[in-house]
Subunit: 471 residues, 2 copies
């Protein structure tokens, strides 16, 4: 096998070179599509990770359709200008941090959603928000399951780019499980259609699946065909408190052994207290951890599944178990879980992790995180899609204090190293982006890294697409 | 983008050249691993498609572990010998047809199955049969859903290579949805591990998904980690007869609009009669088509789902609807459906199609198939995973009659063209292999073909892996 050299920004246009050829881009697109106002450029530099390495783009391009995306990419290919695709900017790994001398290709204006009811498919432009898709299909009694915590503000394009997960994934799978087709603008500006409305299709290599999760490094998605399912049944909600995180994690292992909850989330004591500080919801501040679980099993089997989950919680040493069939009451607990990230954000600057392990190793991972917090002297509240073994340790630090920042950065790397040591992953659903790429070779090893680079080199030999992300 | 040249066999070793270097291979592997007996070579030339283009291998290599696979591939890479990976040989598209001068790399001896109950993962060698995996995990109350009709005789390696489907896929998804990890020997003999027992992992490109469905053209799978779920609930079975195939297809569209059957199969009149001829089961020979559907919804919701399916059948004009909650009775109908392929095989030689369309276009596809049968004067019974829009038109011909063979071949191409014209696929679950590759460019178009070839060239630049398959 040819080992492809790492692609990078070294041979790409400088800011000066890119600015010099900008008139050709402006001239090829409708007025108002290419923006260069400095204040506006500043507002497109960062995603939610506030990646300190973010550069400053020479322009923000906001195409209205696939043809305009093609025009922008063709121009970039001709002049070797870096292209950073961007959806709603809610990414958590710096996957859409701007690059010095590059353009930001914002898909925010492309947000049409059409529903093909008979096919049970939504035809979606990449800028449409996840919540907009859910709302549009719900009108037809249909459901698009993937539900990142940020579903109200994140775009489908970003969801596809990161293969986003969420809370219901423990039963219903992640984004890639719902992508039937993609239109993609390639690195040379060609537009290809992969897949289609047929549910099963194995003709040729699984390129459709390759583009899902590629974080903008292989192409720019201009349209997605998303598989829909009948509307979700009503849910019952169980909230259980445990003396320790370890006991809660053991309950998760027990529940997953024979049940299919539609949600199985964990909050540790620090995250429970952060939520309570932010907005009192009556959660048990003294518990070592809470589990929030749901069952959407139909009919009478729902009650049976909840009883079985309760038994698994008690067997693992639950302090209290509360169950409700009232959807509104259940939603309050789910909102508490979703509120953890902003609530913890009120305590300081954050570095957000996304590490995962096989479910039975959750107790070990959570113990390692607690040890790292103590060793580095940082606060690391944890919320987790526990049923999938995917955790979000959230490192809180003081941005104004270099020592605090250094300890947080050390903890950030240590948590990823701990996950790798447990045969886990540095990212379960947020993507590698720029903030986690240092740890990617440690997880994948040299041979798999070389495979990644070989595919990248085959599809984007000049390295213009999202340079600096992933590797 | 660099358009990779098509890879092929032109620069690969001839049979004479390969035979000359065979002693080095024999010497590097335990005695009995490399077989060259001519009768035995003959028995490894074909899969179930009886591809007339199959060549004769210089050797059959039957490794006992991944290290022996690596030794064989390293030798092949050094001497540019074609390698055709082979599981159980039950493929239906010539994906494991032998190549003149190549070796057949049979994984039949690598069939260990380990079950990690806490992780709900089966660790499986590629030669293990699908049925062996199902049986091993059932002992622990777990279930591996993908269920090709051939599940009793097909291997997991072949299932991964083709991204195999089956009957329960309409609710539970296909092979790729269950593959958490793969060990793969690359074209240069390196062994890489992709994925792992963690359920969610988005670190790096989705190479795991790329290898699933790659039909042995990118690497040789030596181990698969398969996701398991709790054992399936009991099923109720519905059998409905319709005056026409069109009415049955419209019932399928109606059922899928709001329900989640765990099976939704169609048999047309010709396939029903073939099964009855083969082994009388009391099916209605006069009906234009039968649907066989199942619900495994839990508890009382199962009866409700069956009632709703029955209503959809009656709304589409069903003649008779029969429902049973008795698993043994239900199994008889499922067996009748599974028996269609061998039963039709008793009528002559077969060319088996695997075309699919979006579900609402099923009536159009079935009409097109009937038209082609009439135009070409051939018999084409149809069975279908109707709930997924995936059909198996089975072209019956007389192998001894050149005219019959020519008409069958014309029908074979016409059916694929009809599916493409309906925005469908030439293969939903069997793979392209060698027998369908002529139609692949018609479906994918030049740009997507070039993407396929670029990825192939990046991962197997010498083209030694399964040359002649896919393109």
């Amino acid at each position: 096998m040819t080992l492809a050299p790492p692609t990078g920004t070294t041979s790409l246009a400088s800011a000066e070179e890119a600015r010099a050829v900008l008139p050709a881009l402006v001239g090829s697109l409708p007025p108002g599509t290419v923006l260069t106002d400095p204040d506006l450029l500043e507002s497109y530099r960062f995603d939610w990770s506030r990646d300190p390495g973010a550069g400053t783009p020479v322009a923000v391009v906001r195409p209205a359709d696939a043809a305009e995306v093609q025009a922008a990419v063709r121009w970039a290919a001709e002049h070797r200008v870096a292209v950073v695709p961007r959806g709603a900017g809610s990414g958590l790994s710096g996957g859409s941090s701007a690059v010095d001398g590059g353009i930001v290709l914002s898909l925010e204006r492309m947000r049409a959603v059409e529903v093909d009811v008979d096919c049970q498919v939504a035809v979606v432009e990449p800028g449409a928000l996840n919540a907009e898709v859910k709302a549009a299909v719900a009108q037809h009694g249909l459901w698009y399951p993937p539900d990142p915590s940020s579903f109200e503000i994140c775009s489908i394009g970003g969801n596809v780019a990161t293969n986003a997960g969420g809370l219901c994934c423990v039963k219903y799978g992640v984004t890639t499980d719902y992508v039937l087709g993609l239109d993609v603008v390639l690195a040379d500006g060609r537009l290809v259609t992969l897949g289609g409305k047929r549910i099963k299709d194995v003709a040729g290599l699984s390129l459709l699946k390759l583009f899902v999760g590629s974080e903008g490094t292989l192409g720019v998605v201009t349209r997605a065909l998303l598989r829909l399912v009948p509307a979700q049944q009503a849910c019952s909600t169980l909230v259980a408190s445990f003396p320790t995180v370890d006991a809660a994690a053991r309950a998760v292992v027990g529940i997953r052994r024979g049940l299919r909850p539609s949600m199985l989330e964990l909050m540790d004591q620090a995250s429970v207290n952060a939520v309570e500080d932010h907005r009192a919801m009556g959660l048990d501040r003294d518990a070592g951890a809470l589990l929030v679980a749901q069952s959407d099993a139909p009919g009478t089997s729902r009650a049976a599944e909840v009883v079985a989950m309760e038994e698994a919680c008690r067997a693992a040493g639950a302090l209290e178990v509360f169950v409700t069939d009232d959807p509104a009451e259940g939603s309050l607990f789910v909102e508490a879980r979703r509120a953890a990230f902003p609530a913890i954000g009120a305590r300081g600057a954050l570095m957000l992790e996304d590490v995962g392990v096989a479910v039975p190793r959750l107790p070990e991972l959570l113990a390692a995180i607690a040890r790292i917090a103590a060793e580095e002297g940082v606060e690391i509240p944890v919320v987790a899609h526990a049923g999938d073994g995917n955790t979000h340790p959230i490192i809180v630090f003081d941005e104004a204090d270099p020592d605090s920042r250094a300890r947080a950065a050390a903890a950030f790397e240590a948590v990823m190293a701990a996950a790798i040591a447990l045969d886990g992953t540095i990212t379960g659903e947020h993507g590698v982006g720029r903030t986690k790429k240092g740890a990617l070779p440690d997880q994948l090893g040299d041979d798999v890294m070389s495979l990644n680079l070989a595919v990248k080199a085959a599809l984007d030999p000049a390295g213009i697409l999202n340079p600096g992300a992933l590797w």
